[in-house]
Amino acid sequence: MPTKVERWKDEAYGTEIRDHLERFASEGFQSIPEDERDAWFERFKWWGLYHQRKGQESYFMLRIGTPMGRMTPEQLRTVGEVAREYATGPVDNPEFGAAYADFTTRQSIQLHWIDIEDVPDIFEELESVGLSTMQACGDSWRNIVGSPVAGRDADEHVDVWPIVRDLHDRFKGNDLYTNLPRKWKVAVTGDYRGAGQGDINDLAFEPAVKELDGESVEGFNVRVGGGLARKEPRFARDIDVFCRPENVPAVAAGLSGLFRDYGDREDRFNARMKFLVDEWGPEKVRSVLQEEYVDYELPTAGEDLREEYDYNAGRADAPGDYVGVYEQRDGQHFVGLSVLVGRMAAEDVIELADLADAYDASMIGLTQRQNVIVGDIADEDLSEFLEEPLLEEYSPDPHPFMRGSIACTGTEYCSLSIVETKNRMVRYARWLRDNVPVPEGVEDFHIHLSGCTASCAQPQIADISLRGMKTRKDGDAVEAFDVGLGGGLGENPRFADWIEMRVPADEVPGYIANLLGTYEAEREDSESFRSFVADRDEDELADLAEPEATSYEDPYLANTKMTWYPYAEDDSMSASPSPTGPNDEPLPTDD
């Protein structure tokens, strides 16, 4: 029997939701019938609106999808202005202030504290510069990920930007693919870095070369069924298909149609493509695709370029991100700036857009490591650009612990998360920077902190993986983390081994300090941390270090999920002002 969500989607879904949203916006939050709210909030996701967690009723997270994270300075400025005007709540965040934008691990942008009454104005402002929230959440084609510097990157096989723009145009607002069994995440990679991170997506186009009709063709191999959520991580599986660039839309349509028709609509926990690939195997996926969804003979896979992948690969010989200064094909430069945990104050977003304009930079890029890139800096302007004051905060040459830290949204806003994340990761990174020697030669050390098993911070593919948990300390329940080691992508991707379980959150920095001390003392030559972990068995890894309380202080150790907002002076659930009207004033209730 179809799930309740499927029944709600059958009644109304897709583009038509826009009209309902605008009606509710004009009539106010309370015009949404109470007995229909669950259904409407589920449908609103298709338009990028996600109802915030308990205690924050009537506020929404709004997600803007930017294909491959690629934006213009004008678009970035608009995001900053929208954040400044609309993304403010009743209480400021102690680290980030009143208004900010979050750059996500799928190259989108999230704003919080959005009132439904403001949504039409926000849509108008975003759409005036070519931005959209359509399908940013919900059961459909999500934001397509890939390298934001495609076409500029000197380290590139195929420029995939025209392909991704075409896919974006074809599959956003397309009735045939509006209502899929679950989310559908696509990565298109054209570089030698593997920066699309295709292995963790439902559908991945990976750079490859194939001899066809006596001619060497540059195109893509196809993998399907990757994903990290729910303690069921899968790397995308090779279905032995090579795809010419011009055939990417047909293969993408075929595979998303196959998912639409054969995906599980009776159990949402079994609905993702990874489970269909588990059930069928890659060979059946290929044969059904061939027989039912494409009208040309699919070539077998070509020769891939995976051995060159270095993005988030934990290699000692190459950076695993885009932070720093890189030469473009045209002799100009792109500069990758570190944005700690991906959160940037609205005023800084606007200032960065102004800065990009001042240097005639026509491209801004958001990366899957929650950082930002400014492209097209002329050689003669580079030194001056690197001296800009804003780059002291968002540095192209940050400390390794600031550079590699990723965090999801956490209990600040998210219903699923078990622990506080972003502010804690900021505090972890600062403490590590100030107290822990960086092992010789390490420039780029990846710590991914995720609040729960949904894995939005991609915890399984980091040097150190932190996944939200709880434990008891002196009898009291405290926020904690399971700690994993040695994950990463690259030629041979590997999920982290979970080594230390239920470590109290205030003992995690001490554990990392002890671990890195052992690594520095015991590694061979310039062995990478990932390789150091891979060379040891589970018992040896467990013996590497112990958790330890240190000078690190954690203000979020108690149960932040029980608060209405973790940073409010009176944070008790009963102190929540929600639901509120557009000016954060509590709405009258029946009580």
């Binding site: 799930t3 309740k4 969500v5 109470e34 007995d35 229909e36 709210r37 669950d38 909030f41 589920e42 967690r53 308990k54 009723e57 959520a229 729910r230 303690k231 949402r268 926990f269 209990t411 998210c414 219903s415 699923l416 998360s417 078990i418 729960c452 098993t453 949904a454 948990m469 709880k470 434990t471 008891r472 329940a477 904690a480 379980m501 239920r502 149960n559 999920k561």
Partner: protein
């Protein structure tokens, strides 16, 4: 009127009569030898897998783990609370209560 229950947002919370009532990340004490060998399971709820109403009783099967021994899995049917049929008000099980899984499984959502 029958009680309307469903789990939403990837099992993050349970709606009872269209009101968000129970969310994940709470710690519950379970008296069951089905889940782990601890005398009392110190259970962290990580996701609601199934939810159903059995008369006024709201029940769910919940994914999570015992934070004492680390055992993880999905519970049997646990009572989350009751709905007052006269007022439709949901009364959750007290946070410190000891919970037992119900032998009879109601029809799932």
């Amino acid at each position: 009127m029958p009680t309307a229950v469903h789990q939403l947002d990837d099992g993050a919370w349970i709606s009872v009569n269209d009101t968000r009532e129970v969310t994940v990340s709470d710690l519950w004490r379970l008296a069951t030898d089905e889940f782990c060998s601890c005398r009392l399971t110190d259970f962290l709820s990580e996701g609601f897998v199934e939810v159903a109403a059995d008369g006024p009783r709201v029940e769910a099967r919940v994914a999570g783990q015992c934070i004492r021994c680390g055992a993880s899995g999905v519970t049997g049917w646990l009572t989350l609370g009751r709905v007052d049929p006269d007022t439709d008000t949901f009364y959750p099980v007290a946070p410190g209560a000891i919970r037992r899984s119900n032998r009879a499984s109601p029809g799932s959502d």
